[in-house]
Symmetry: C2
Subunit: 177 residues, 2 copies
DNA sequence: GCTAAATATGCAAATAATTGCATATGCAGG
DNA sequence: CCTGCATATGCAATTATTTGCATATTTAGC
C-alpha cells in the first residue's frame, strides 16, 4: 500500500497532523497521489501501530485537539526500502477521455463543454504552479537535494498543464470543424 | 462507477467478449482507464443484470466457450446520460513522483535508476502510438466523428509521452549535476 | 446576531480494486 | 516431449477507496 508511503514522504518535511497532511496533499505530493481525509486519518492509525510514525496529542484550549505525527527511524527505513522497488505502472482514471471515445454516440456540444471546463482547469493550475515556482524556486541552480525533488515535481506539473492546454485547444479546434 | 461506462464505450465499436475487452483496454481506452480481467468479468455480469448489455454464449469445440456481449439501447442511453455529467478530477497515483519527493532521504542513484526505466517506457509507448497513428490515421483531415474521438485520444497519448520523455531527460540532467 | 467557512478528527457502510488461485485447451519453439 | 504463451472465464479473500454521517469550536463576512 502506497498511501502510507506518500504520507511518510510528506512527514519528512516536518511533523504534522492529519489535517495538515490532508491540506499539503492538495498542493505538493497531492498532485501525484490523492486521498480523502478519511483515508488519511485511518491510514495514520495503522502506520502508528506499525511504528513508522509516532503520535503526540496536543490539547488546545480554544480549538479541537490535534494529533501531531512524527516519522520514526523505522519509517525512514521503510521509505528507503520501498523507493528501491520497481514502481507499478501509474494508475490512470481519465473519465473525460473515455467520454471522448464515445463521440458519435454522444453529441459534440456535450463533449465541447467538457473540454472547455478542462481547459479552464488546466489554465488555473498552471498559473498556480507558476506562482509557486516564482516564490519558492527563483533560482533553480542552487538547490539542496531535498528541494530538487520538489522542484522537479513542480516542473512536471507545469509541463503537464501546458500539454493539457495545448491538447484541449487542438481538440476544440478539431471538433469545431 | 465508471468502469462500466468505459466498457460500454468500448462495446460501441462492436460486440465483444470479456477477454477481447480486456485486451483492447490495453491499447485504446485502456490508456485512460485500466482494469484487470477479474474486474472486467465481474463488472460485465453486473451490467448484464442491469440490462445495459446482452450476452450470447458461443460454444466452441476447440477452445473454451466465449460469451459475447452486445450493448443495448438502454446501454446507449446510459452513456449519454453519464457523458453529460461533470467528470470528477482524474485520479492520479504516480509512485515515481512520490519517490522523487523523498530525494535527500533516498539516495540519488536509486532515483536515477527509476527515471531511466521510466524514460525507456515512455519511448516505447511513443513509438507504439506513432505506429498506430501512421496505420490508422494517415490523413487526419477526413475522419468520421467516431474516428475523431479516438484520433484525439491518440494525440493526447502522443503528447503525454513526449512530455514524459522531455521531463525525464530534464530530471536526469538536473540530478547528474 | 446569523451564516458560512475553516479547523480537527473520526466511524460505518458500501463499492471498487487487487491478489491468489483454479480450470482447460491449442500452438509454437527448443 | 516439455515449456511457456495465448485463449477464455471465473471465485474468494483481502485491501483500498468513496460516501454519508457525526461532533465541536473559531473567525470572518453580511
Amino acid at each position: 500500500m502506497a498511501l502510507s508511503h506518500a504520507l511518510l514522504v510528506t512527514l519528512l518535511d516536518k511533523p504534522q497532523t492529519g489535517y495538515e497532511l490532508g491540506k499539503r496533499f492538495d498542493r505538493t505530493v497531492g498532485f501525484f497521489w490523492r486521498a480523502s481525509h478519511q483515508q488519511i486519518y485511518s491510514e495514520l492509525h495503522r502506520m502508528a501501530d506499525k511504528g513508522h510514525i509516532s503520535s503526540n496529542k496536543v490539547a488546545q484550549a480554544d480549538r479541537p485537539n490535534r494529533i501531531v505525527y512524527t516519522i520514526t527511524e523505522a519509517g525512514r527505513e521503510a521509505i528507503q526500502h520501498w523507493a528501491a522497488l520497481d514502481s507499478p505502472a501509474p494508475s490512470v482514471k481519465e473519465e473525460l477521455l473515455v467520454k471522448l471515445f464515445a463521440l458519435g454516440t454522444v453529441e459534440k456540444p456535450v463533449i465541447t463543454r467538457l473540454l472547455e471546463n478542462r481547459l479552464a482547469q488546466h489554465r488555473e493550475r498552471l498559473a498556480d504552479y507558476r506562482r509557486v515556482m516564482a516564490e519558492h524556486y527563483p533560482q533553480a541552480e542552487k538547490l539542496s537535494d531535498r528541494q530538487r525533488g520538489r522542484y522537479l515535481g513542480l516542473r512536471l506539473g507545469i509541463r503537464t498543464e501546458e500539454t493539457g492546454i495545448d491538447w484541449c485547444e487542438e481538440a476544440l479546434q478539431t471538433l469545431s470543424k
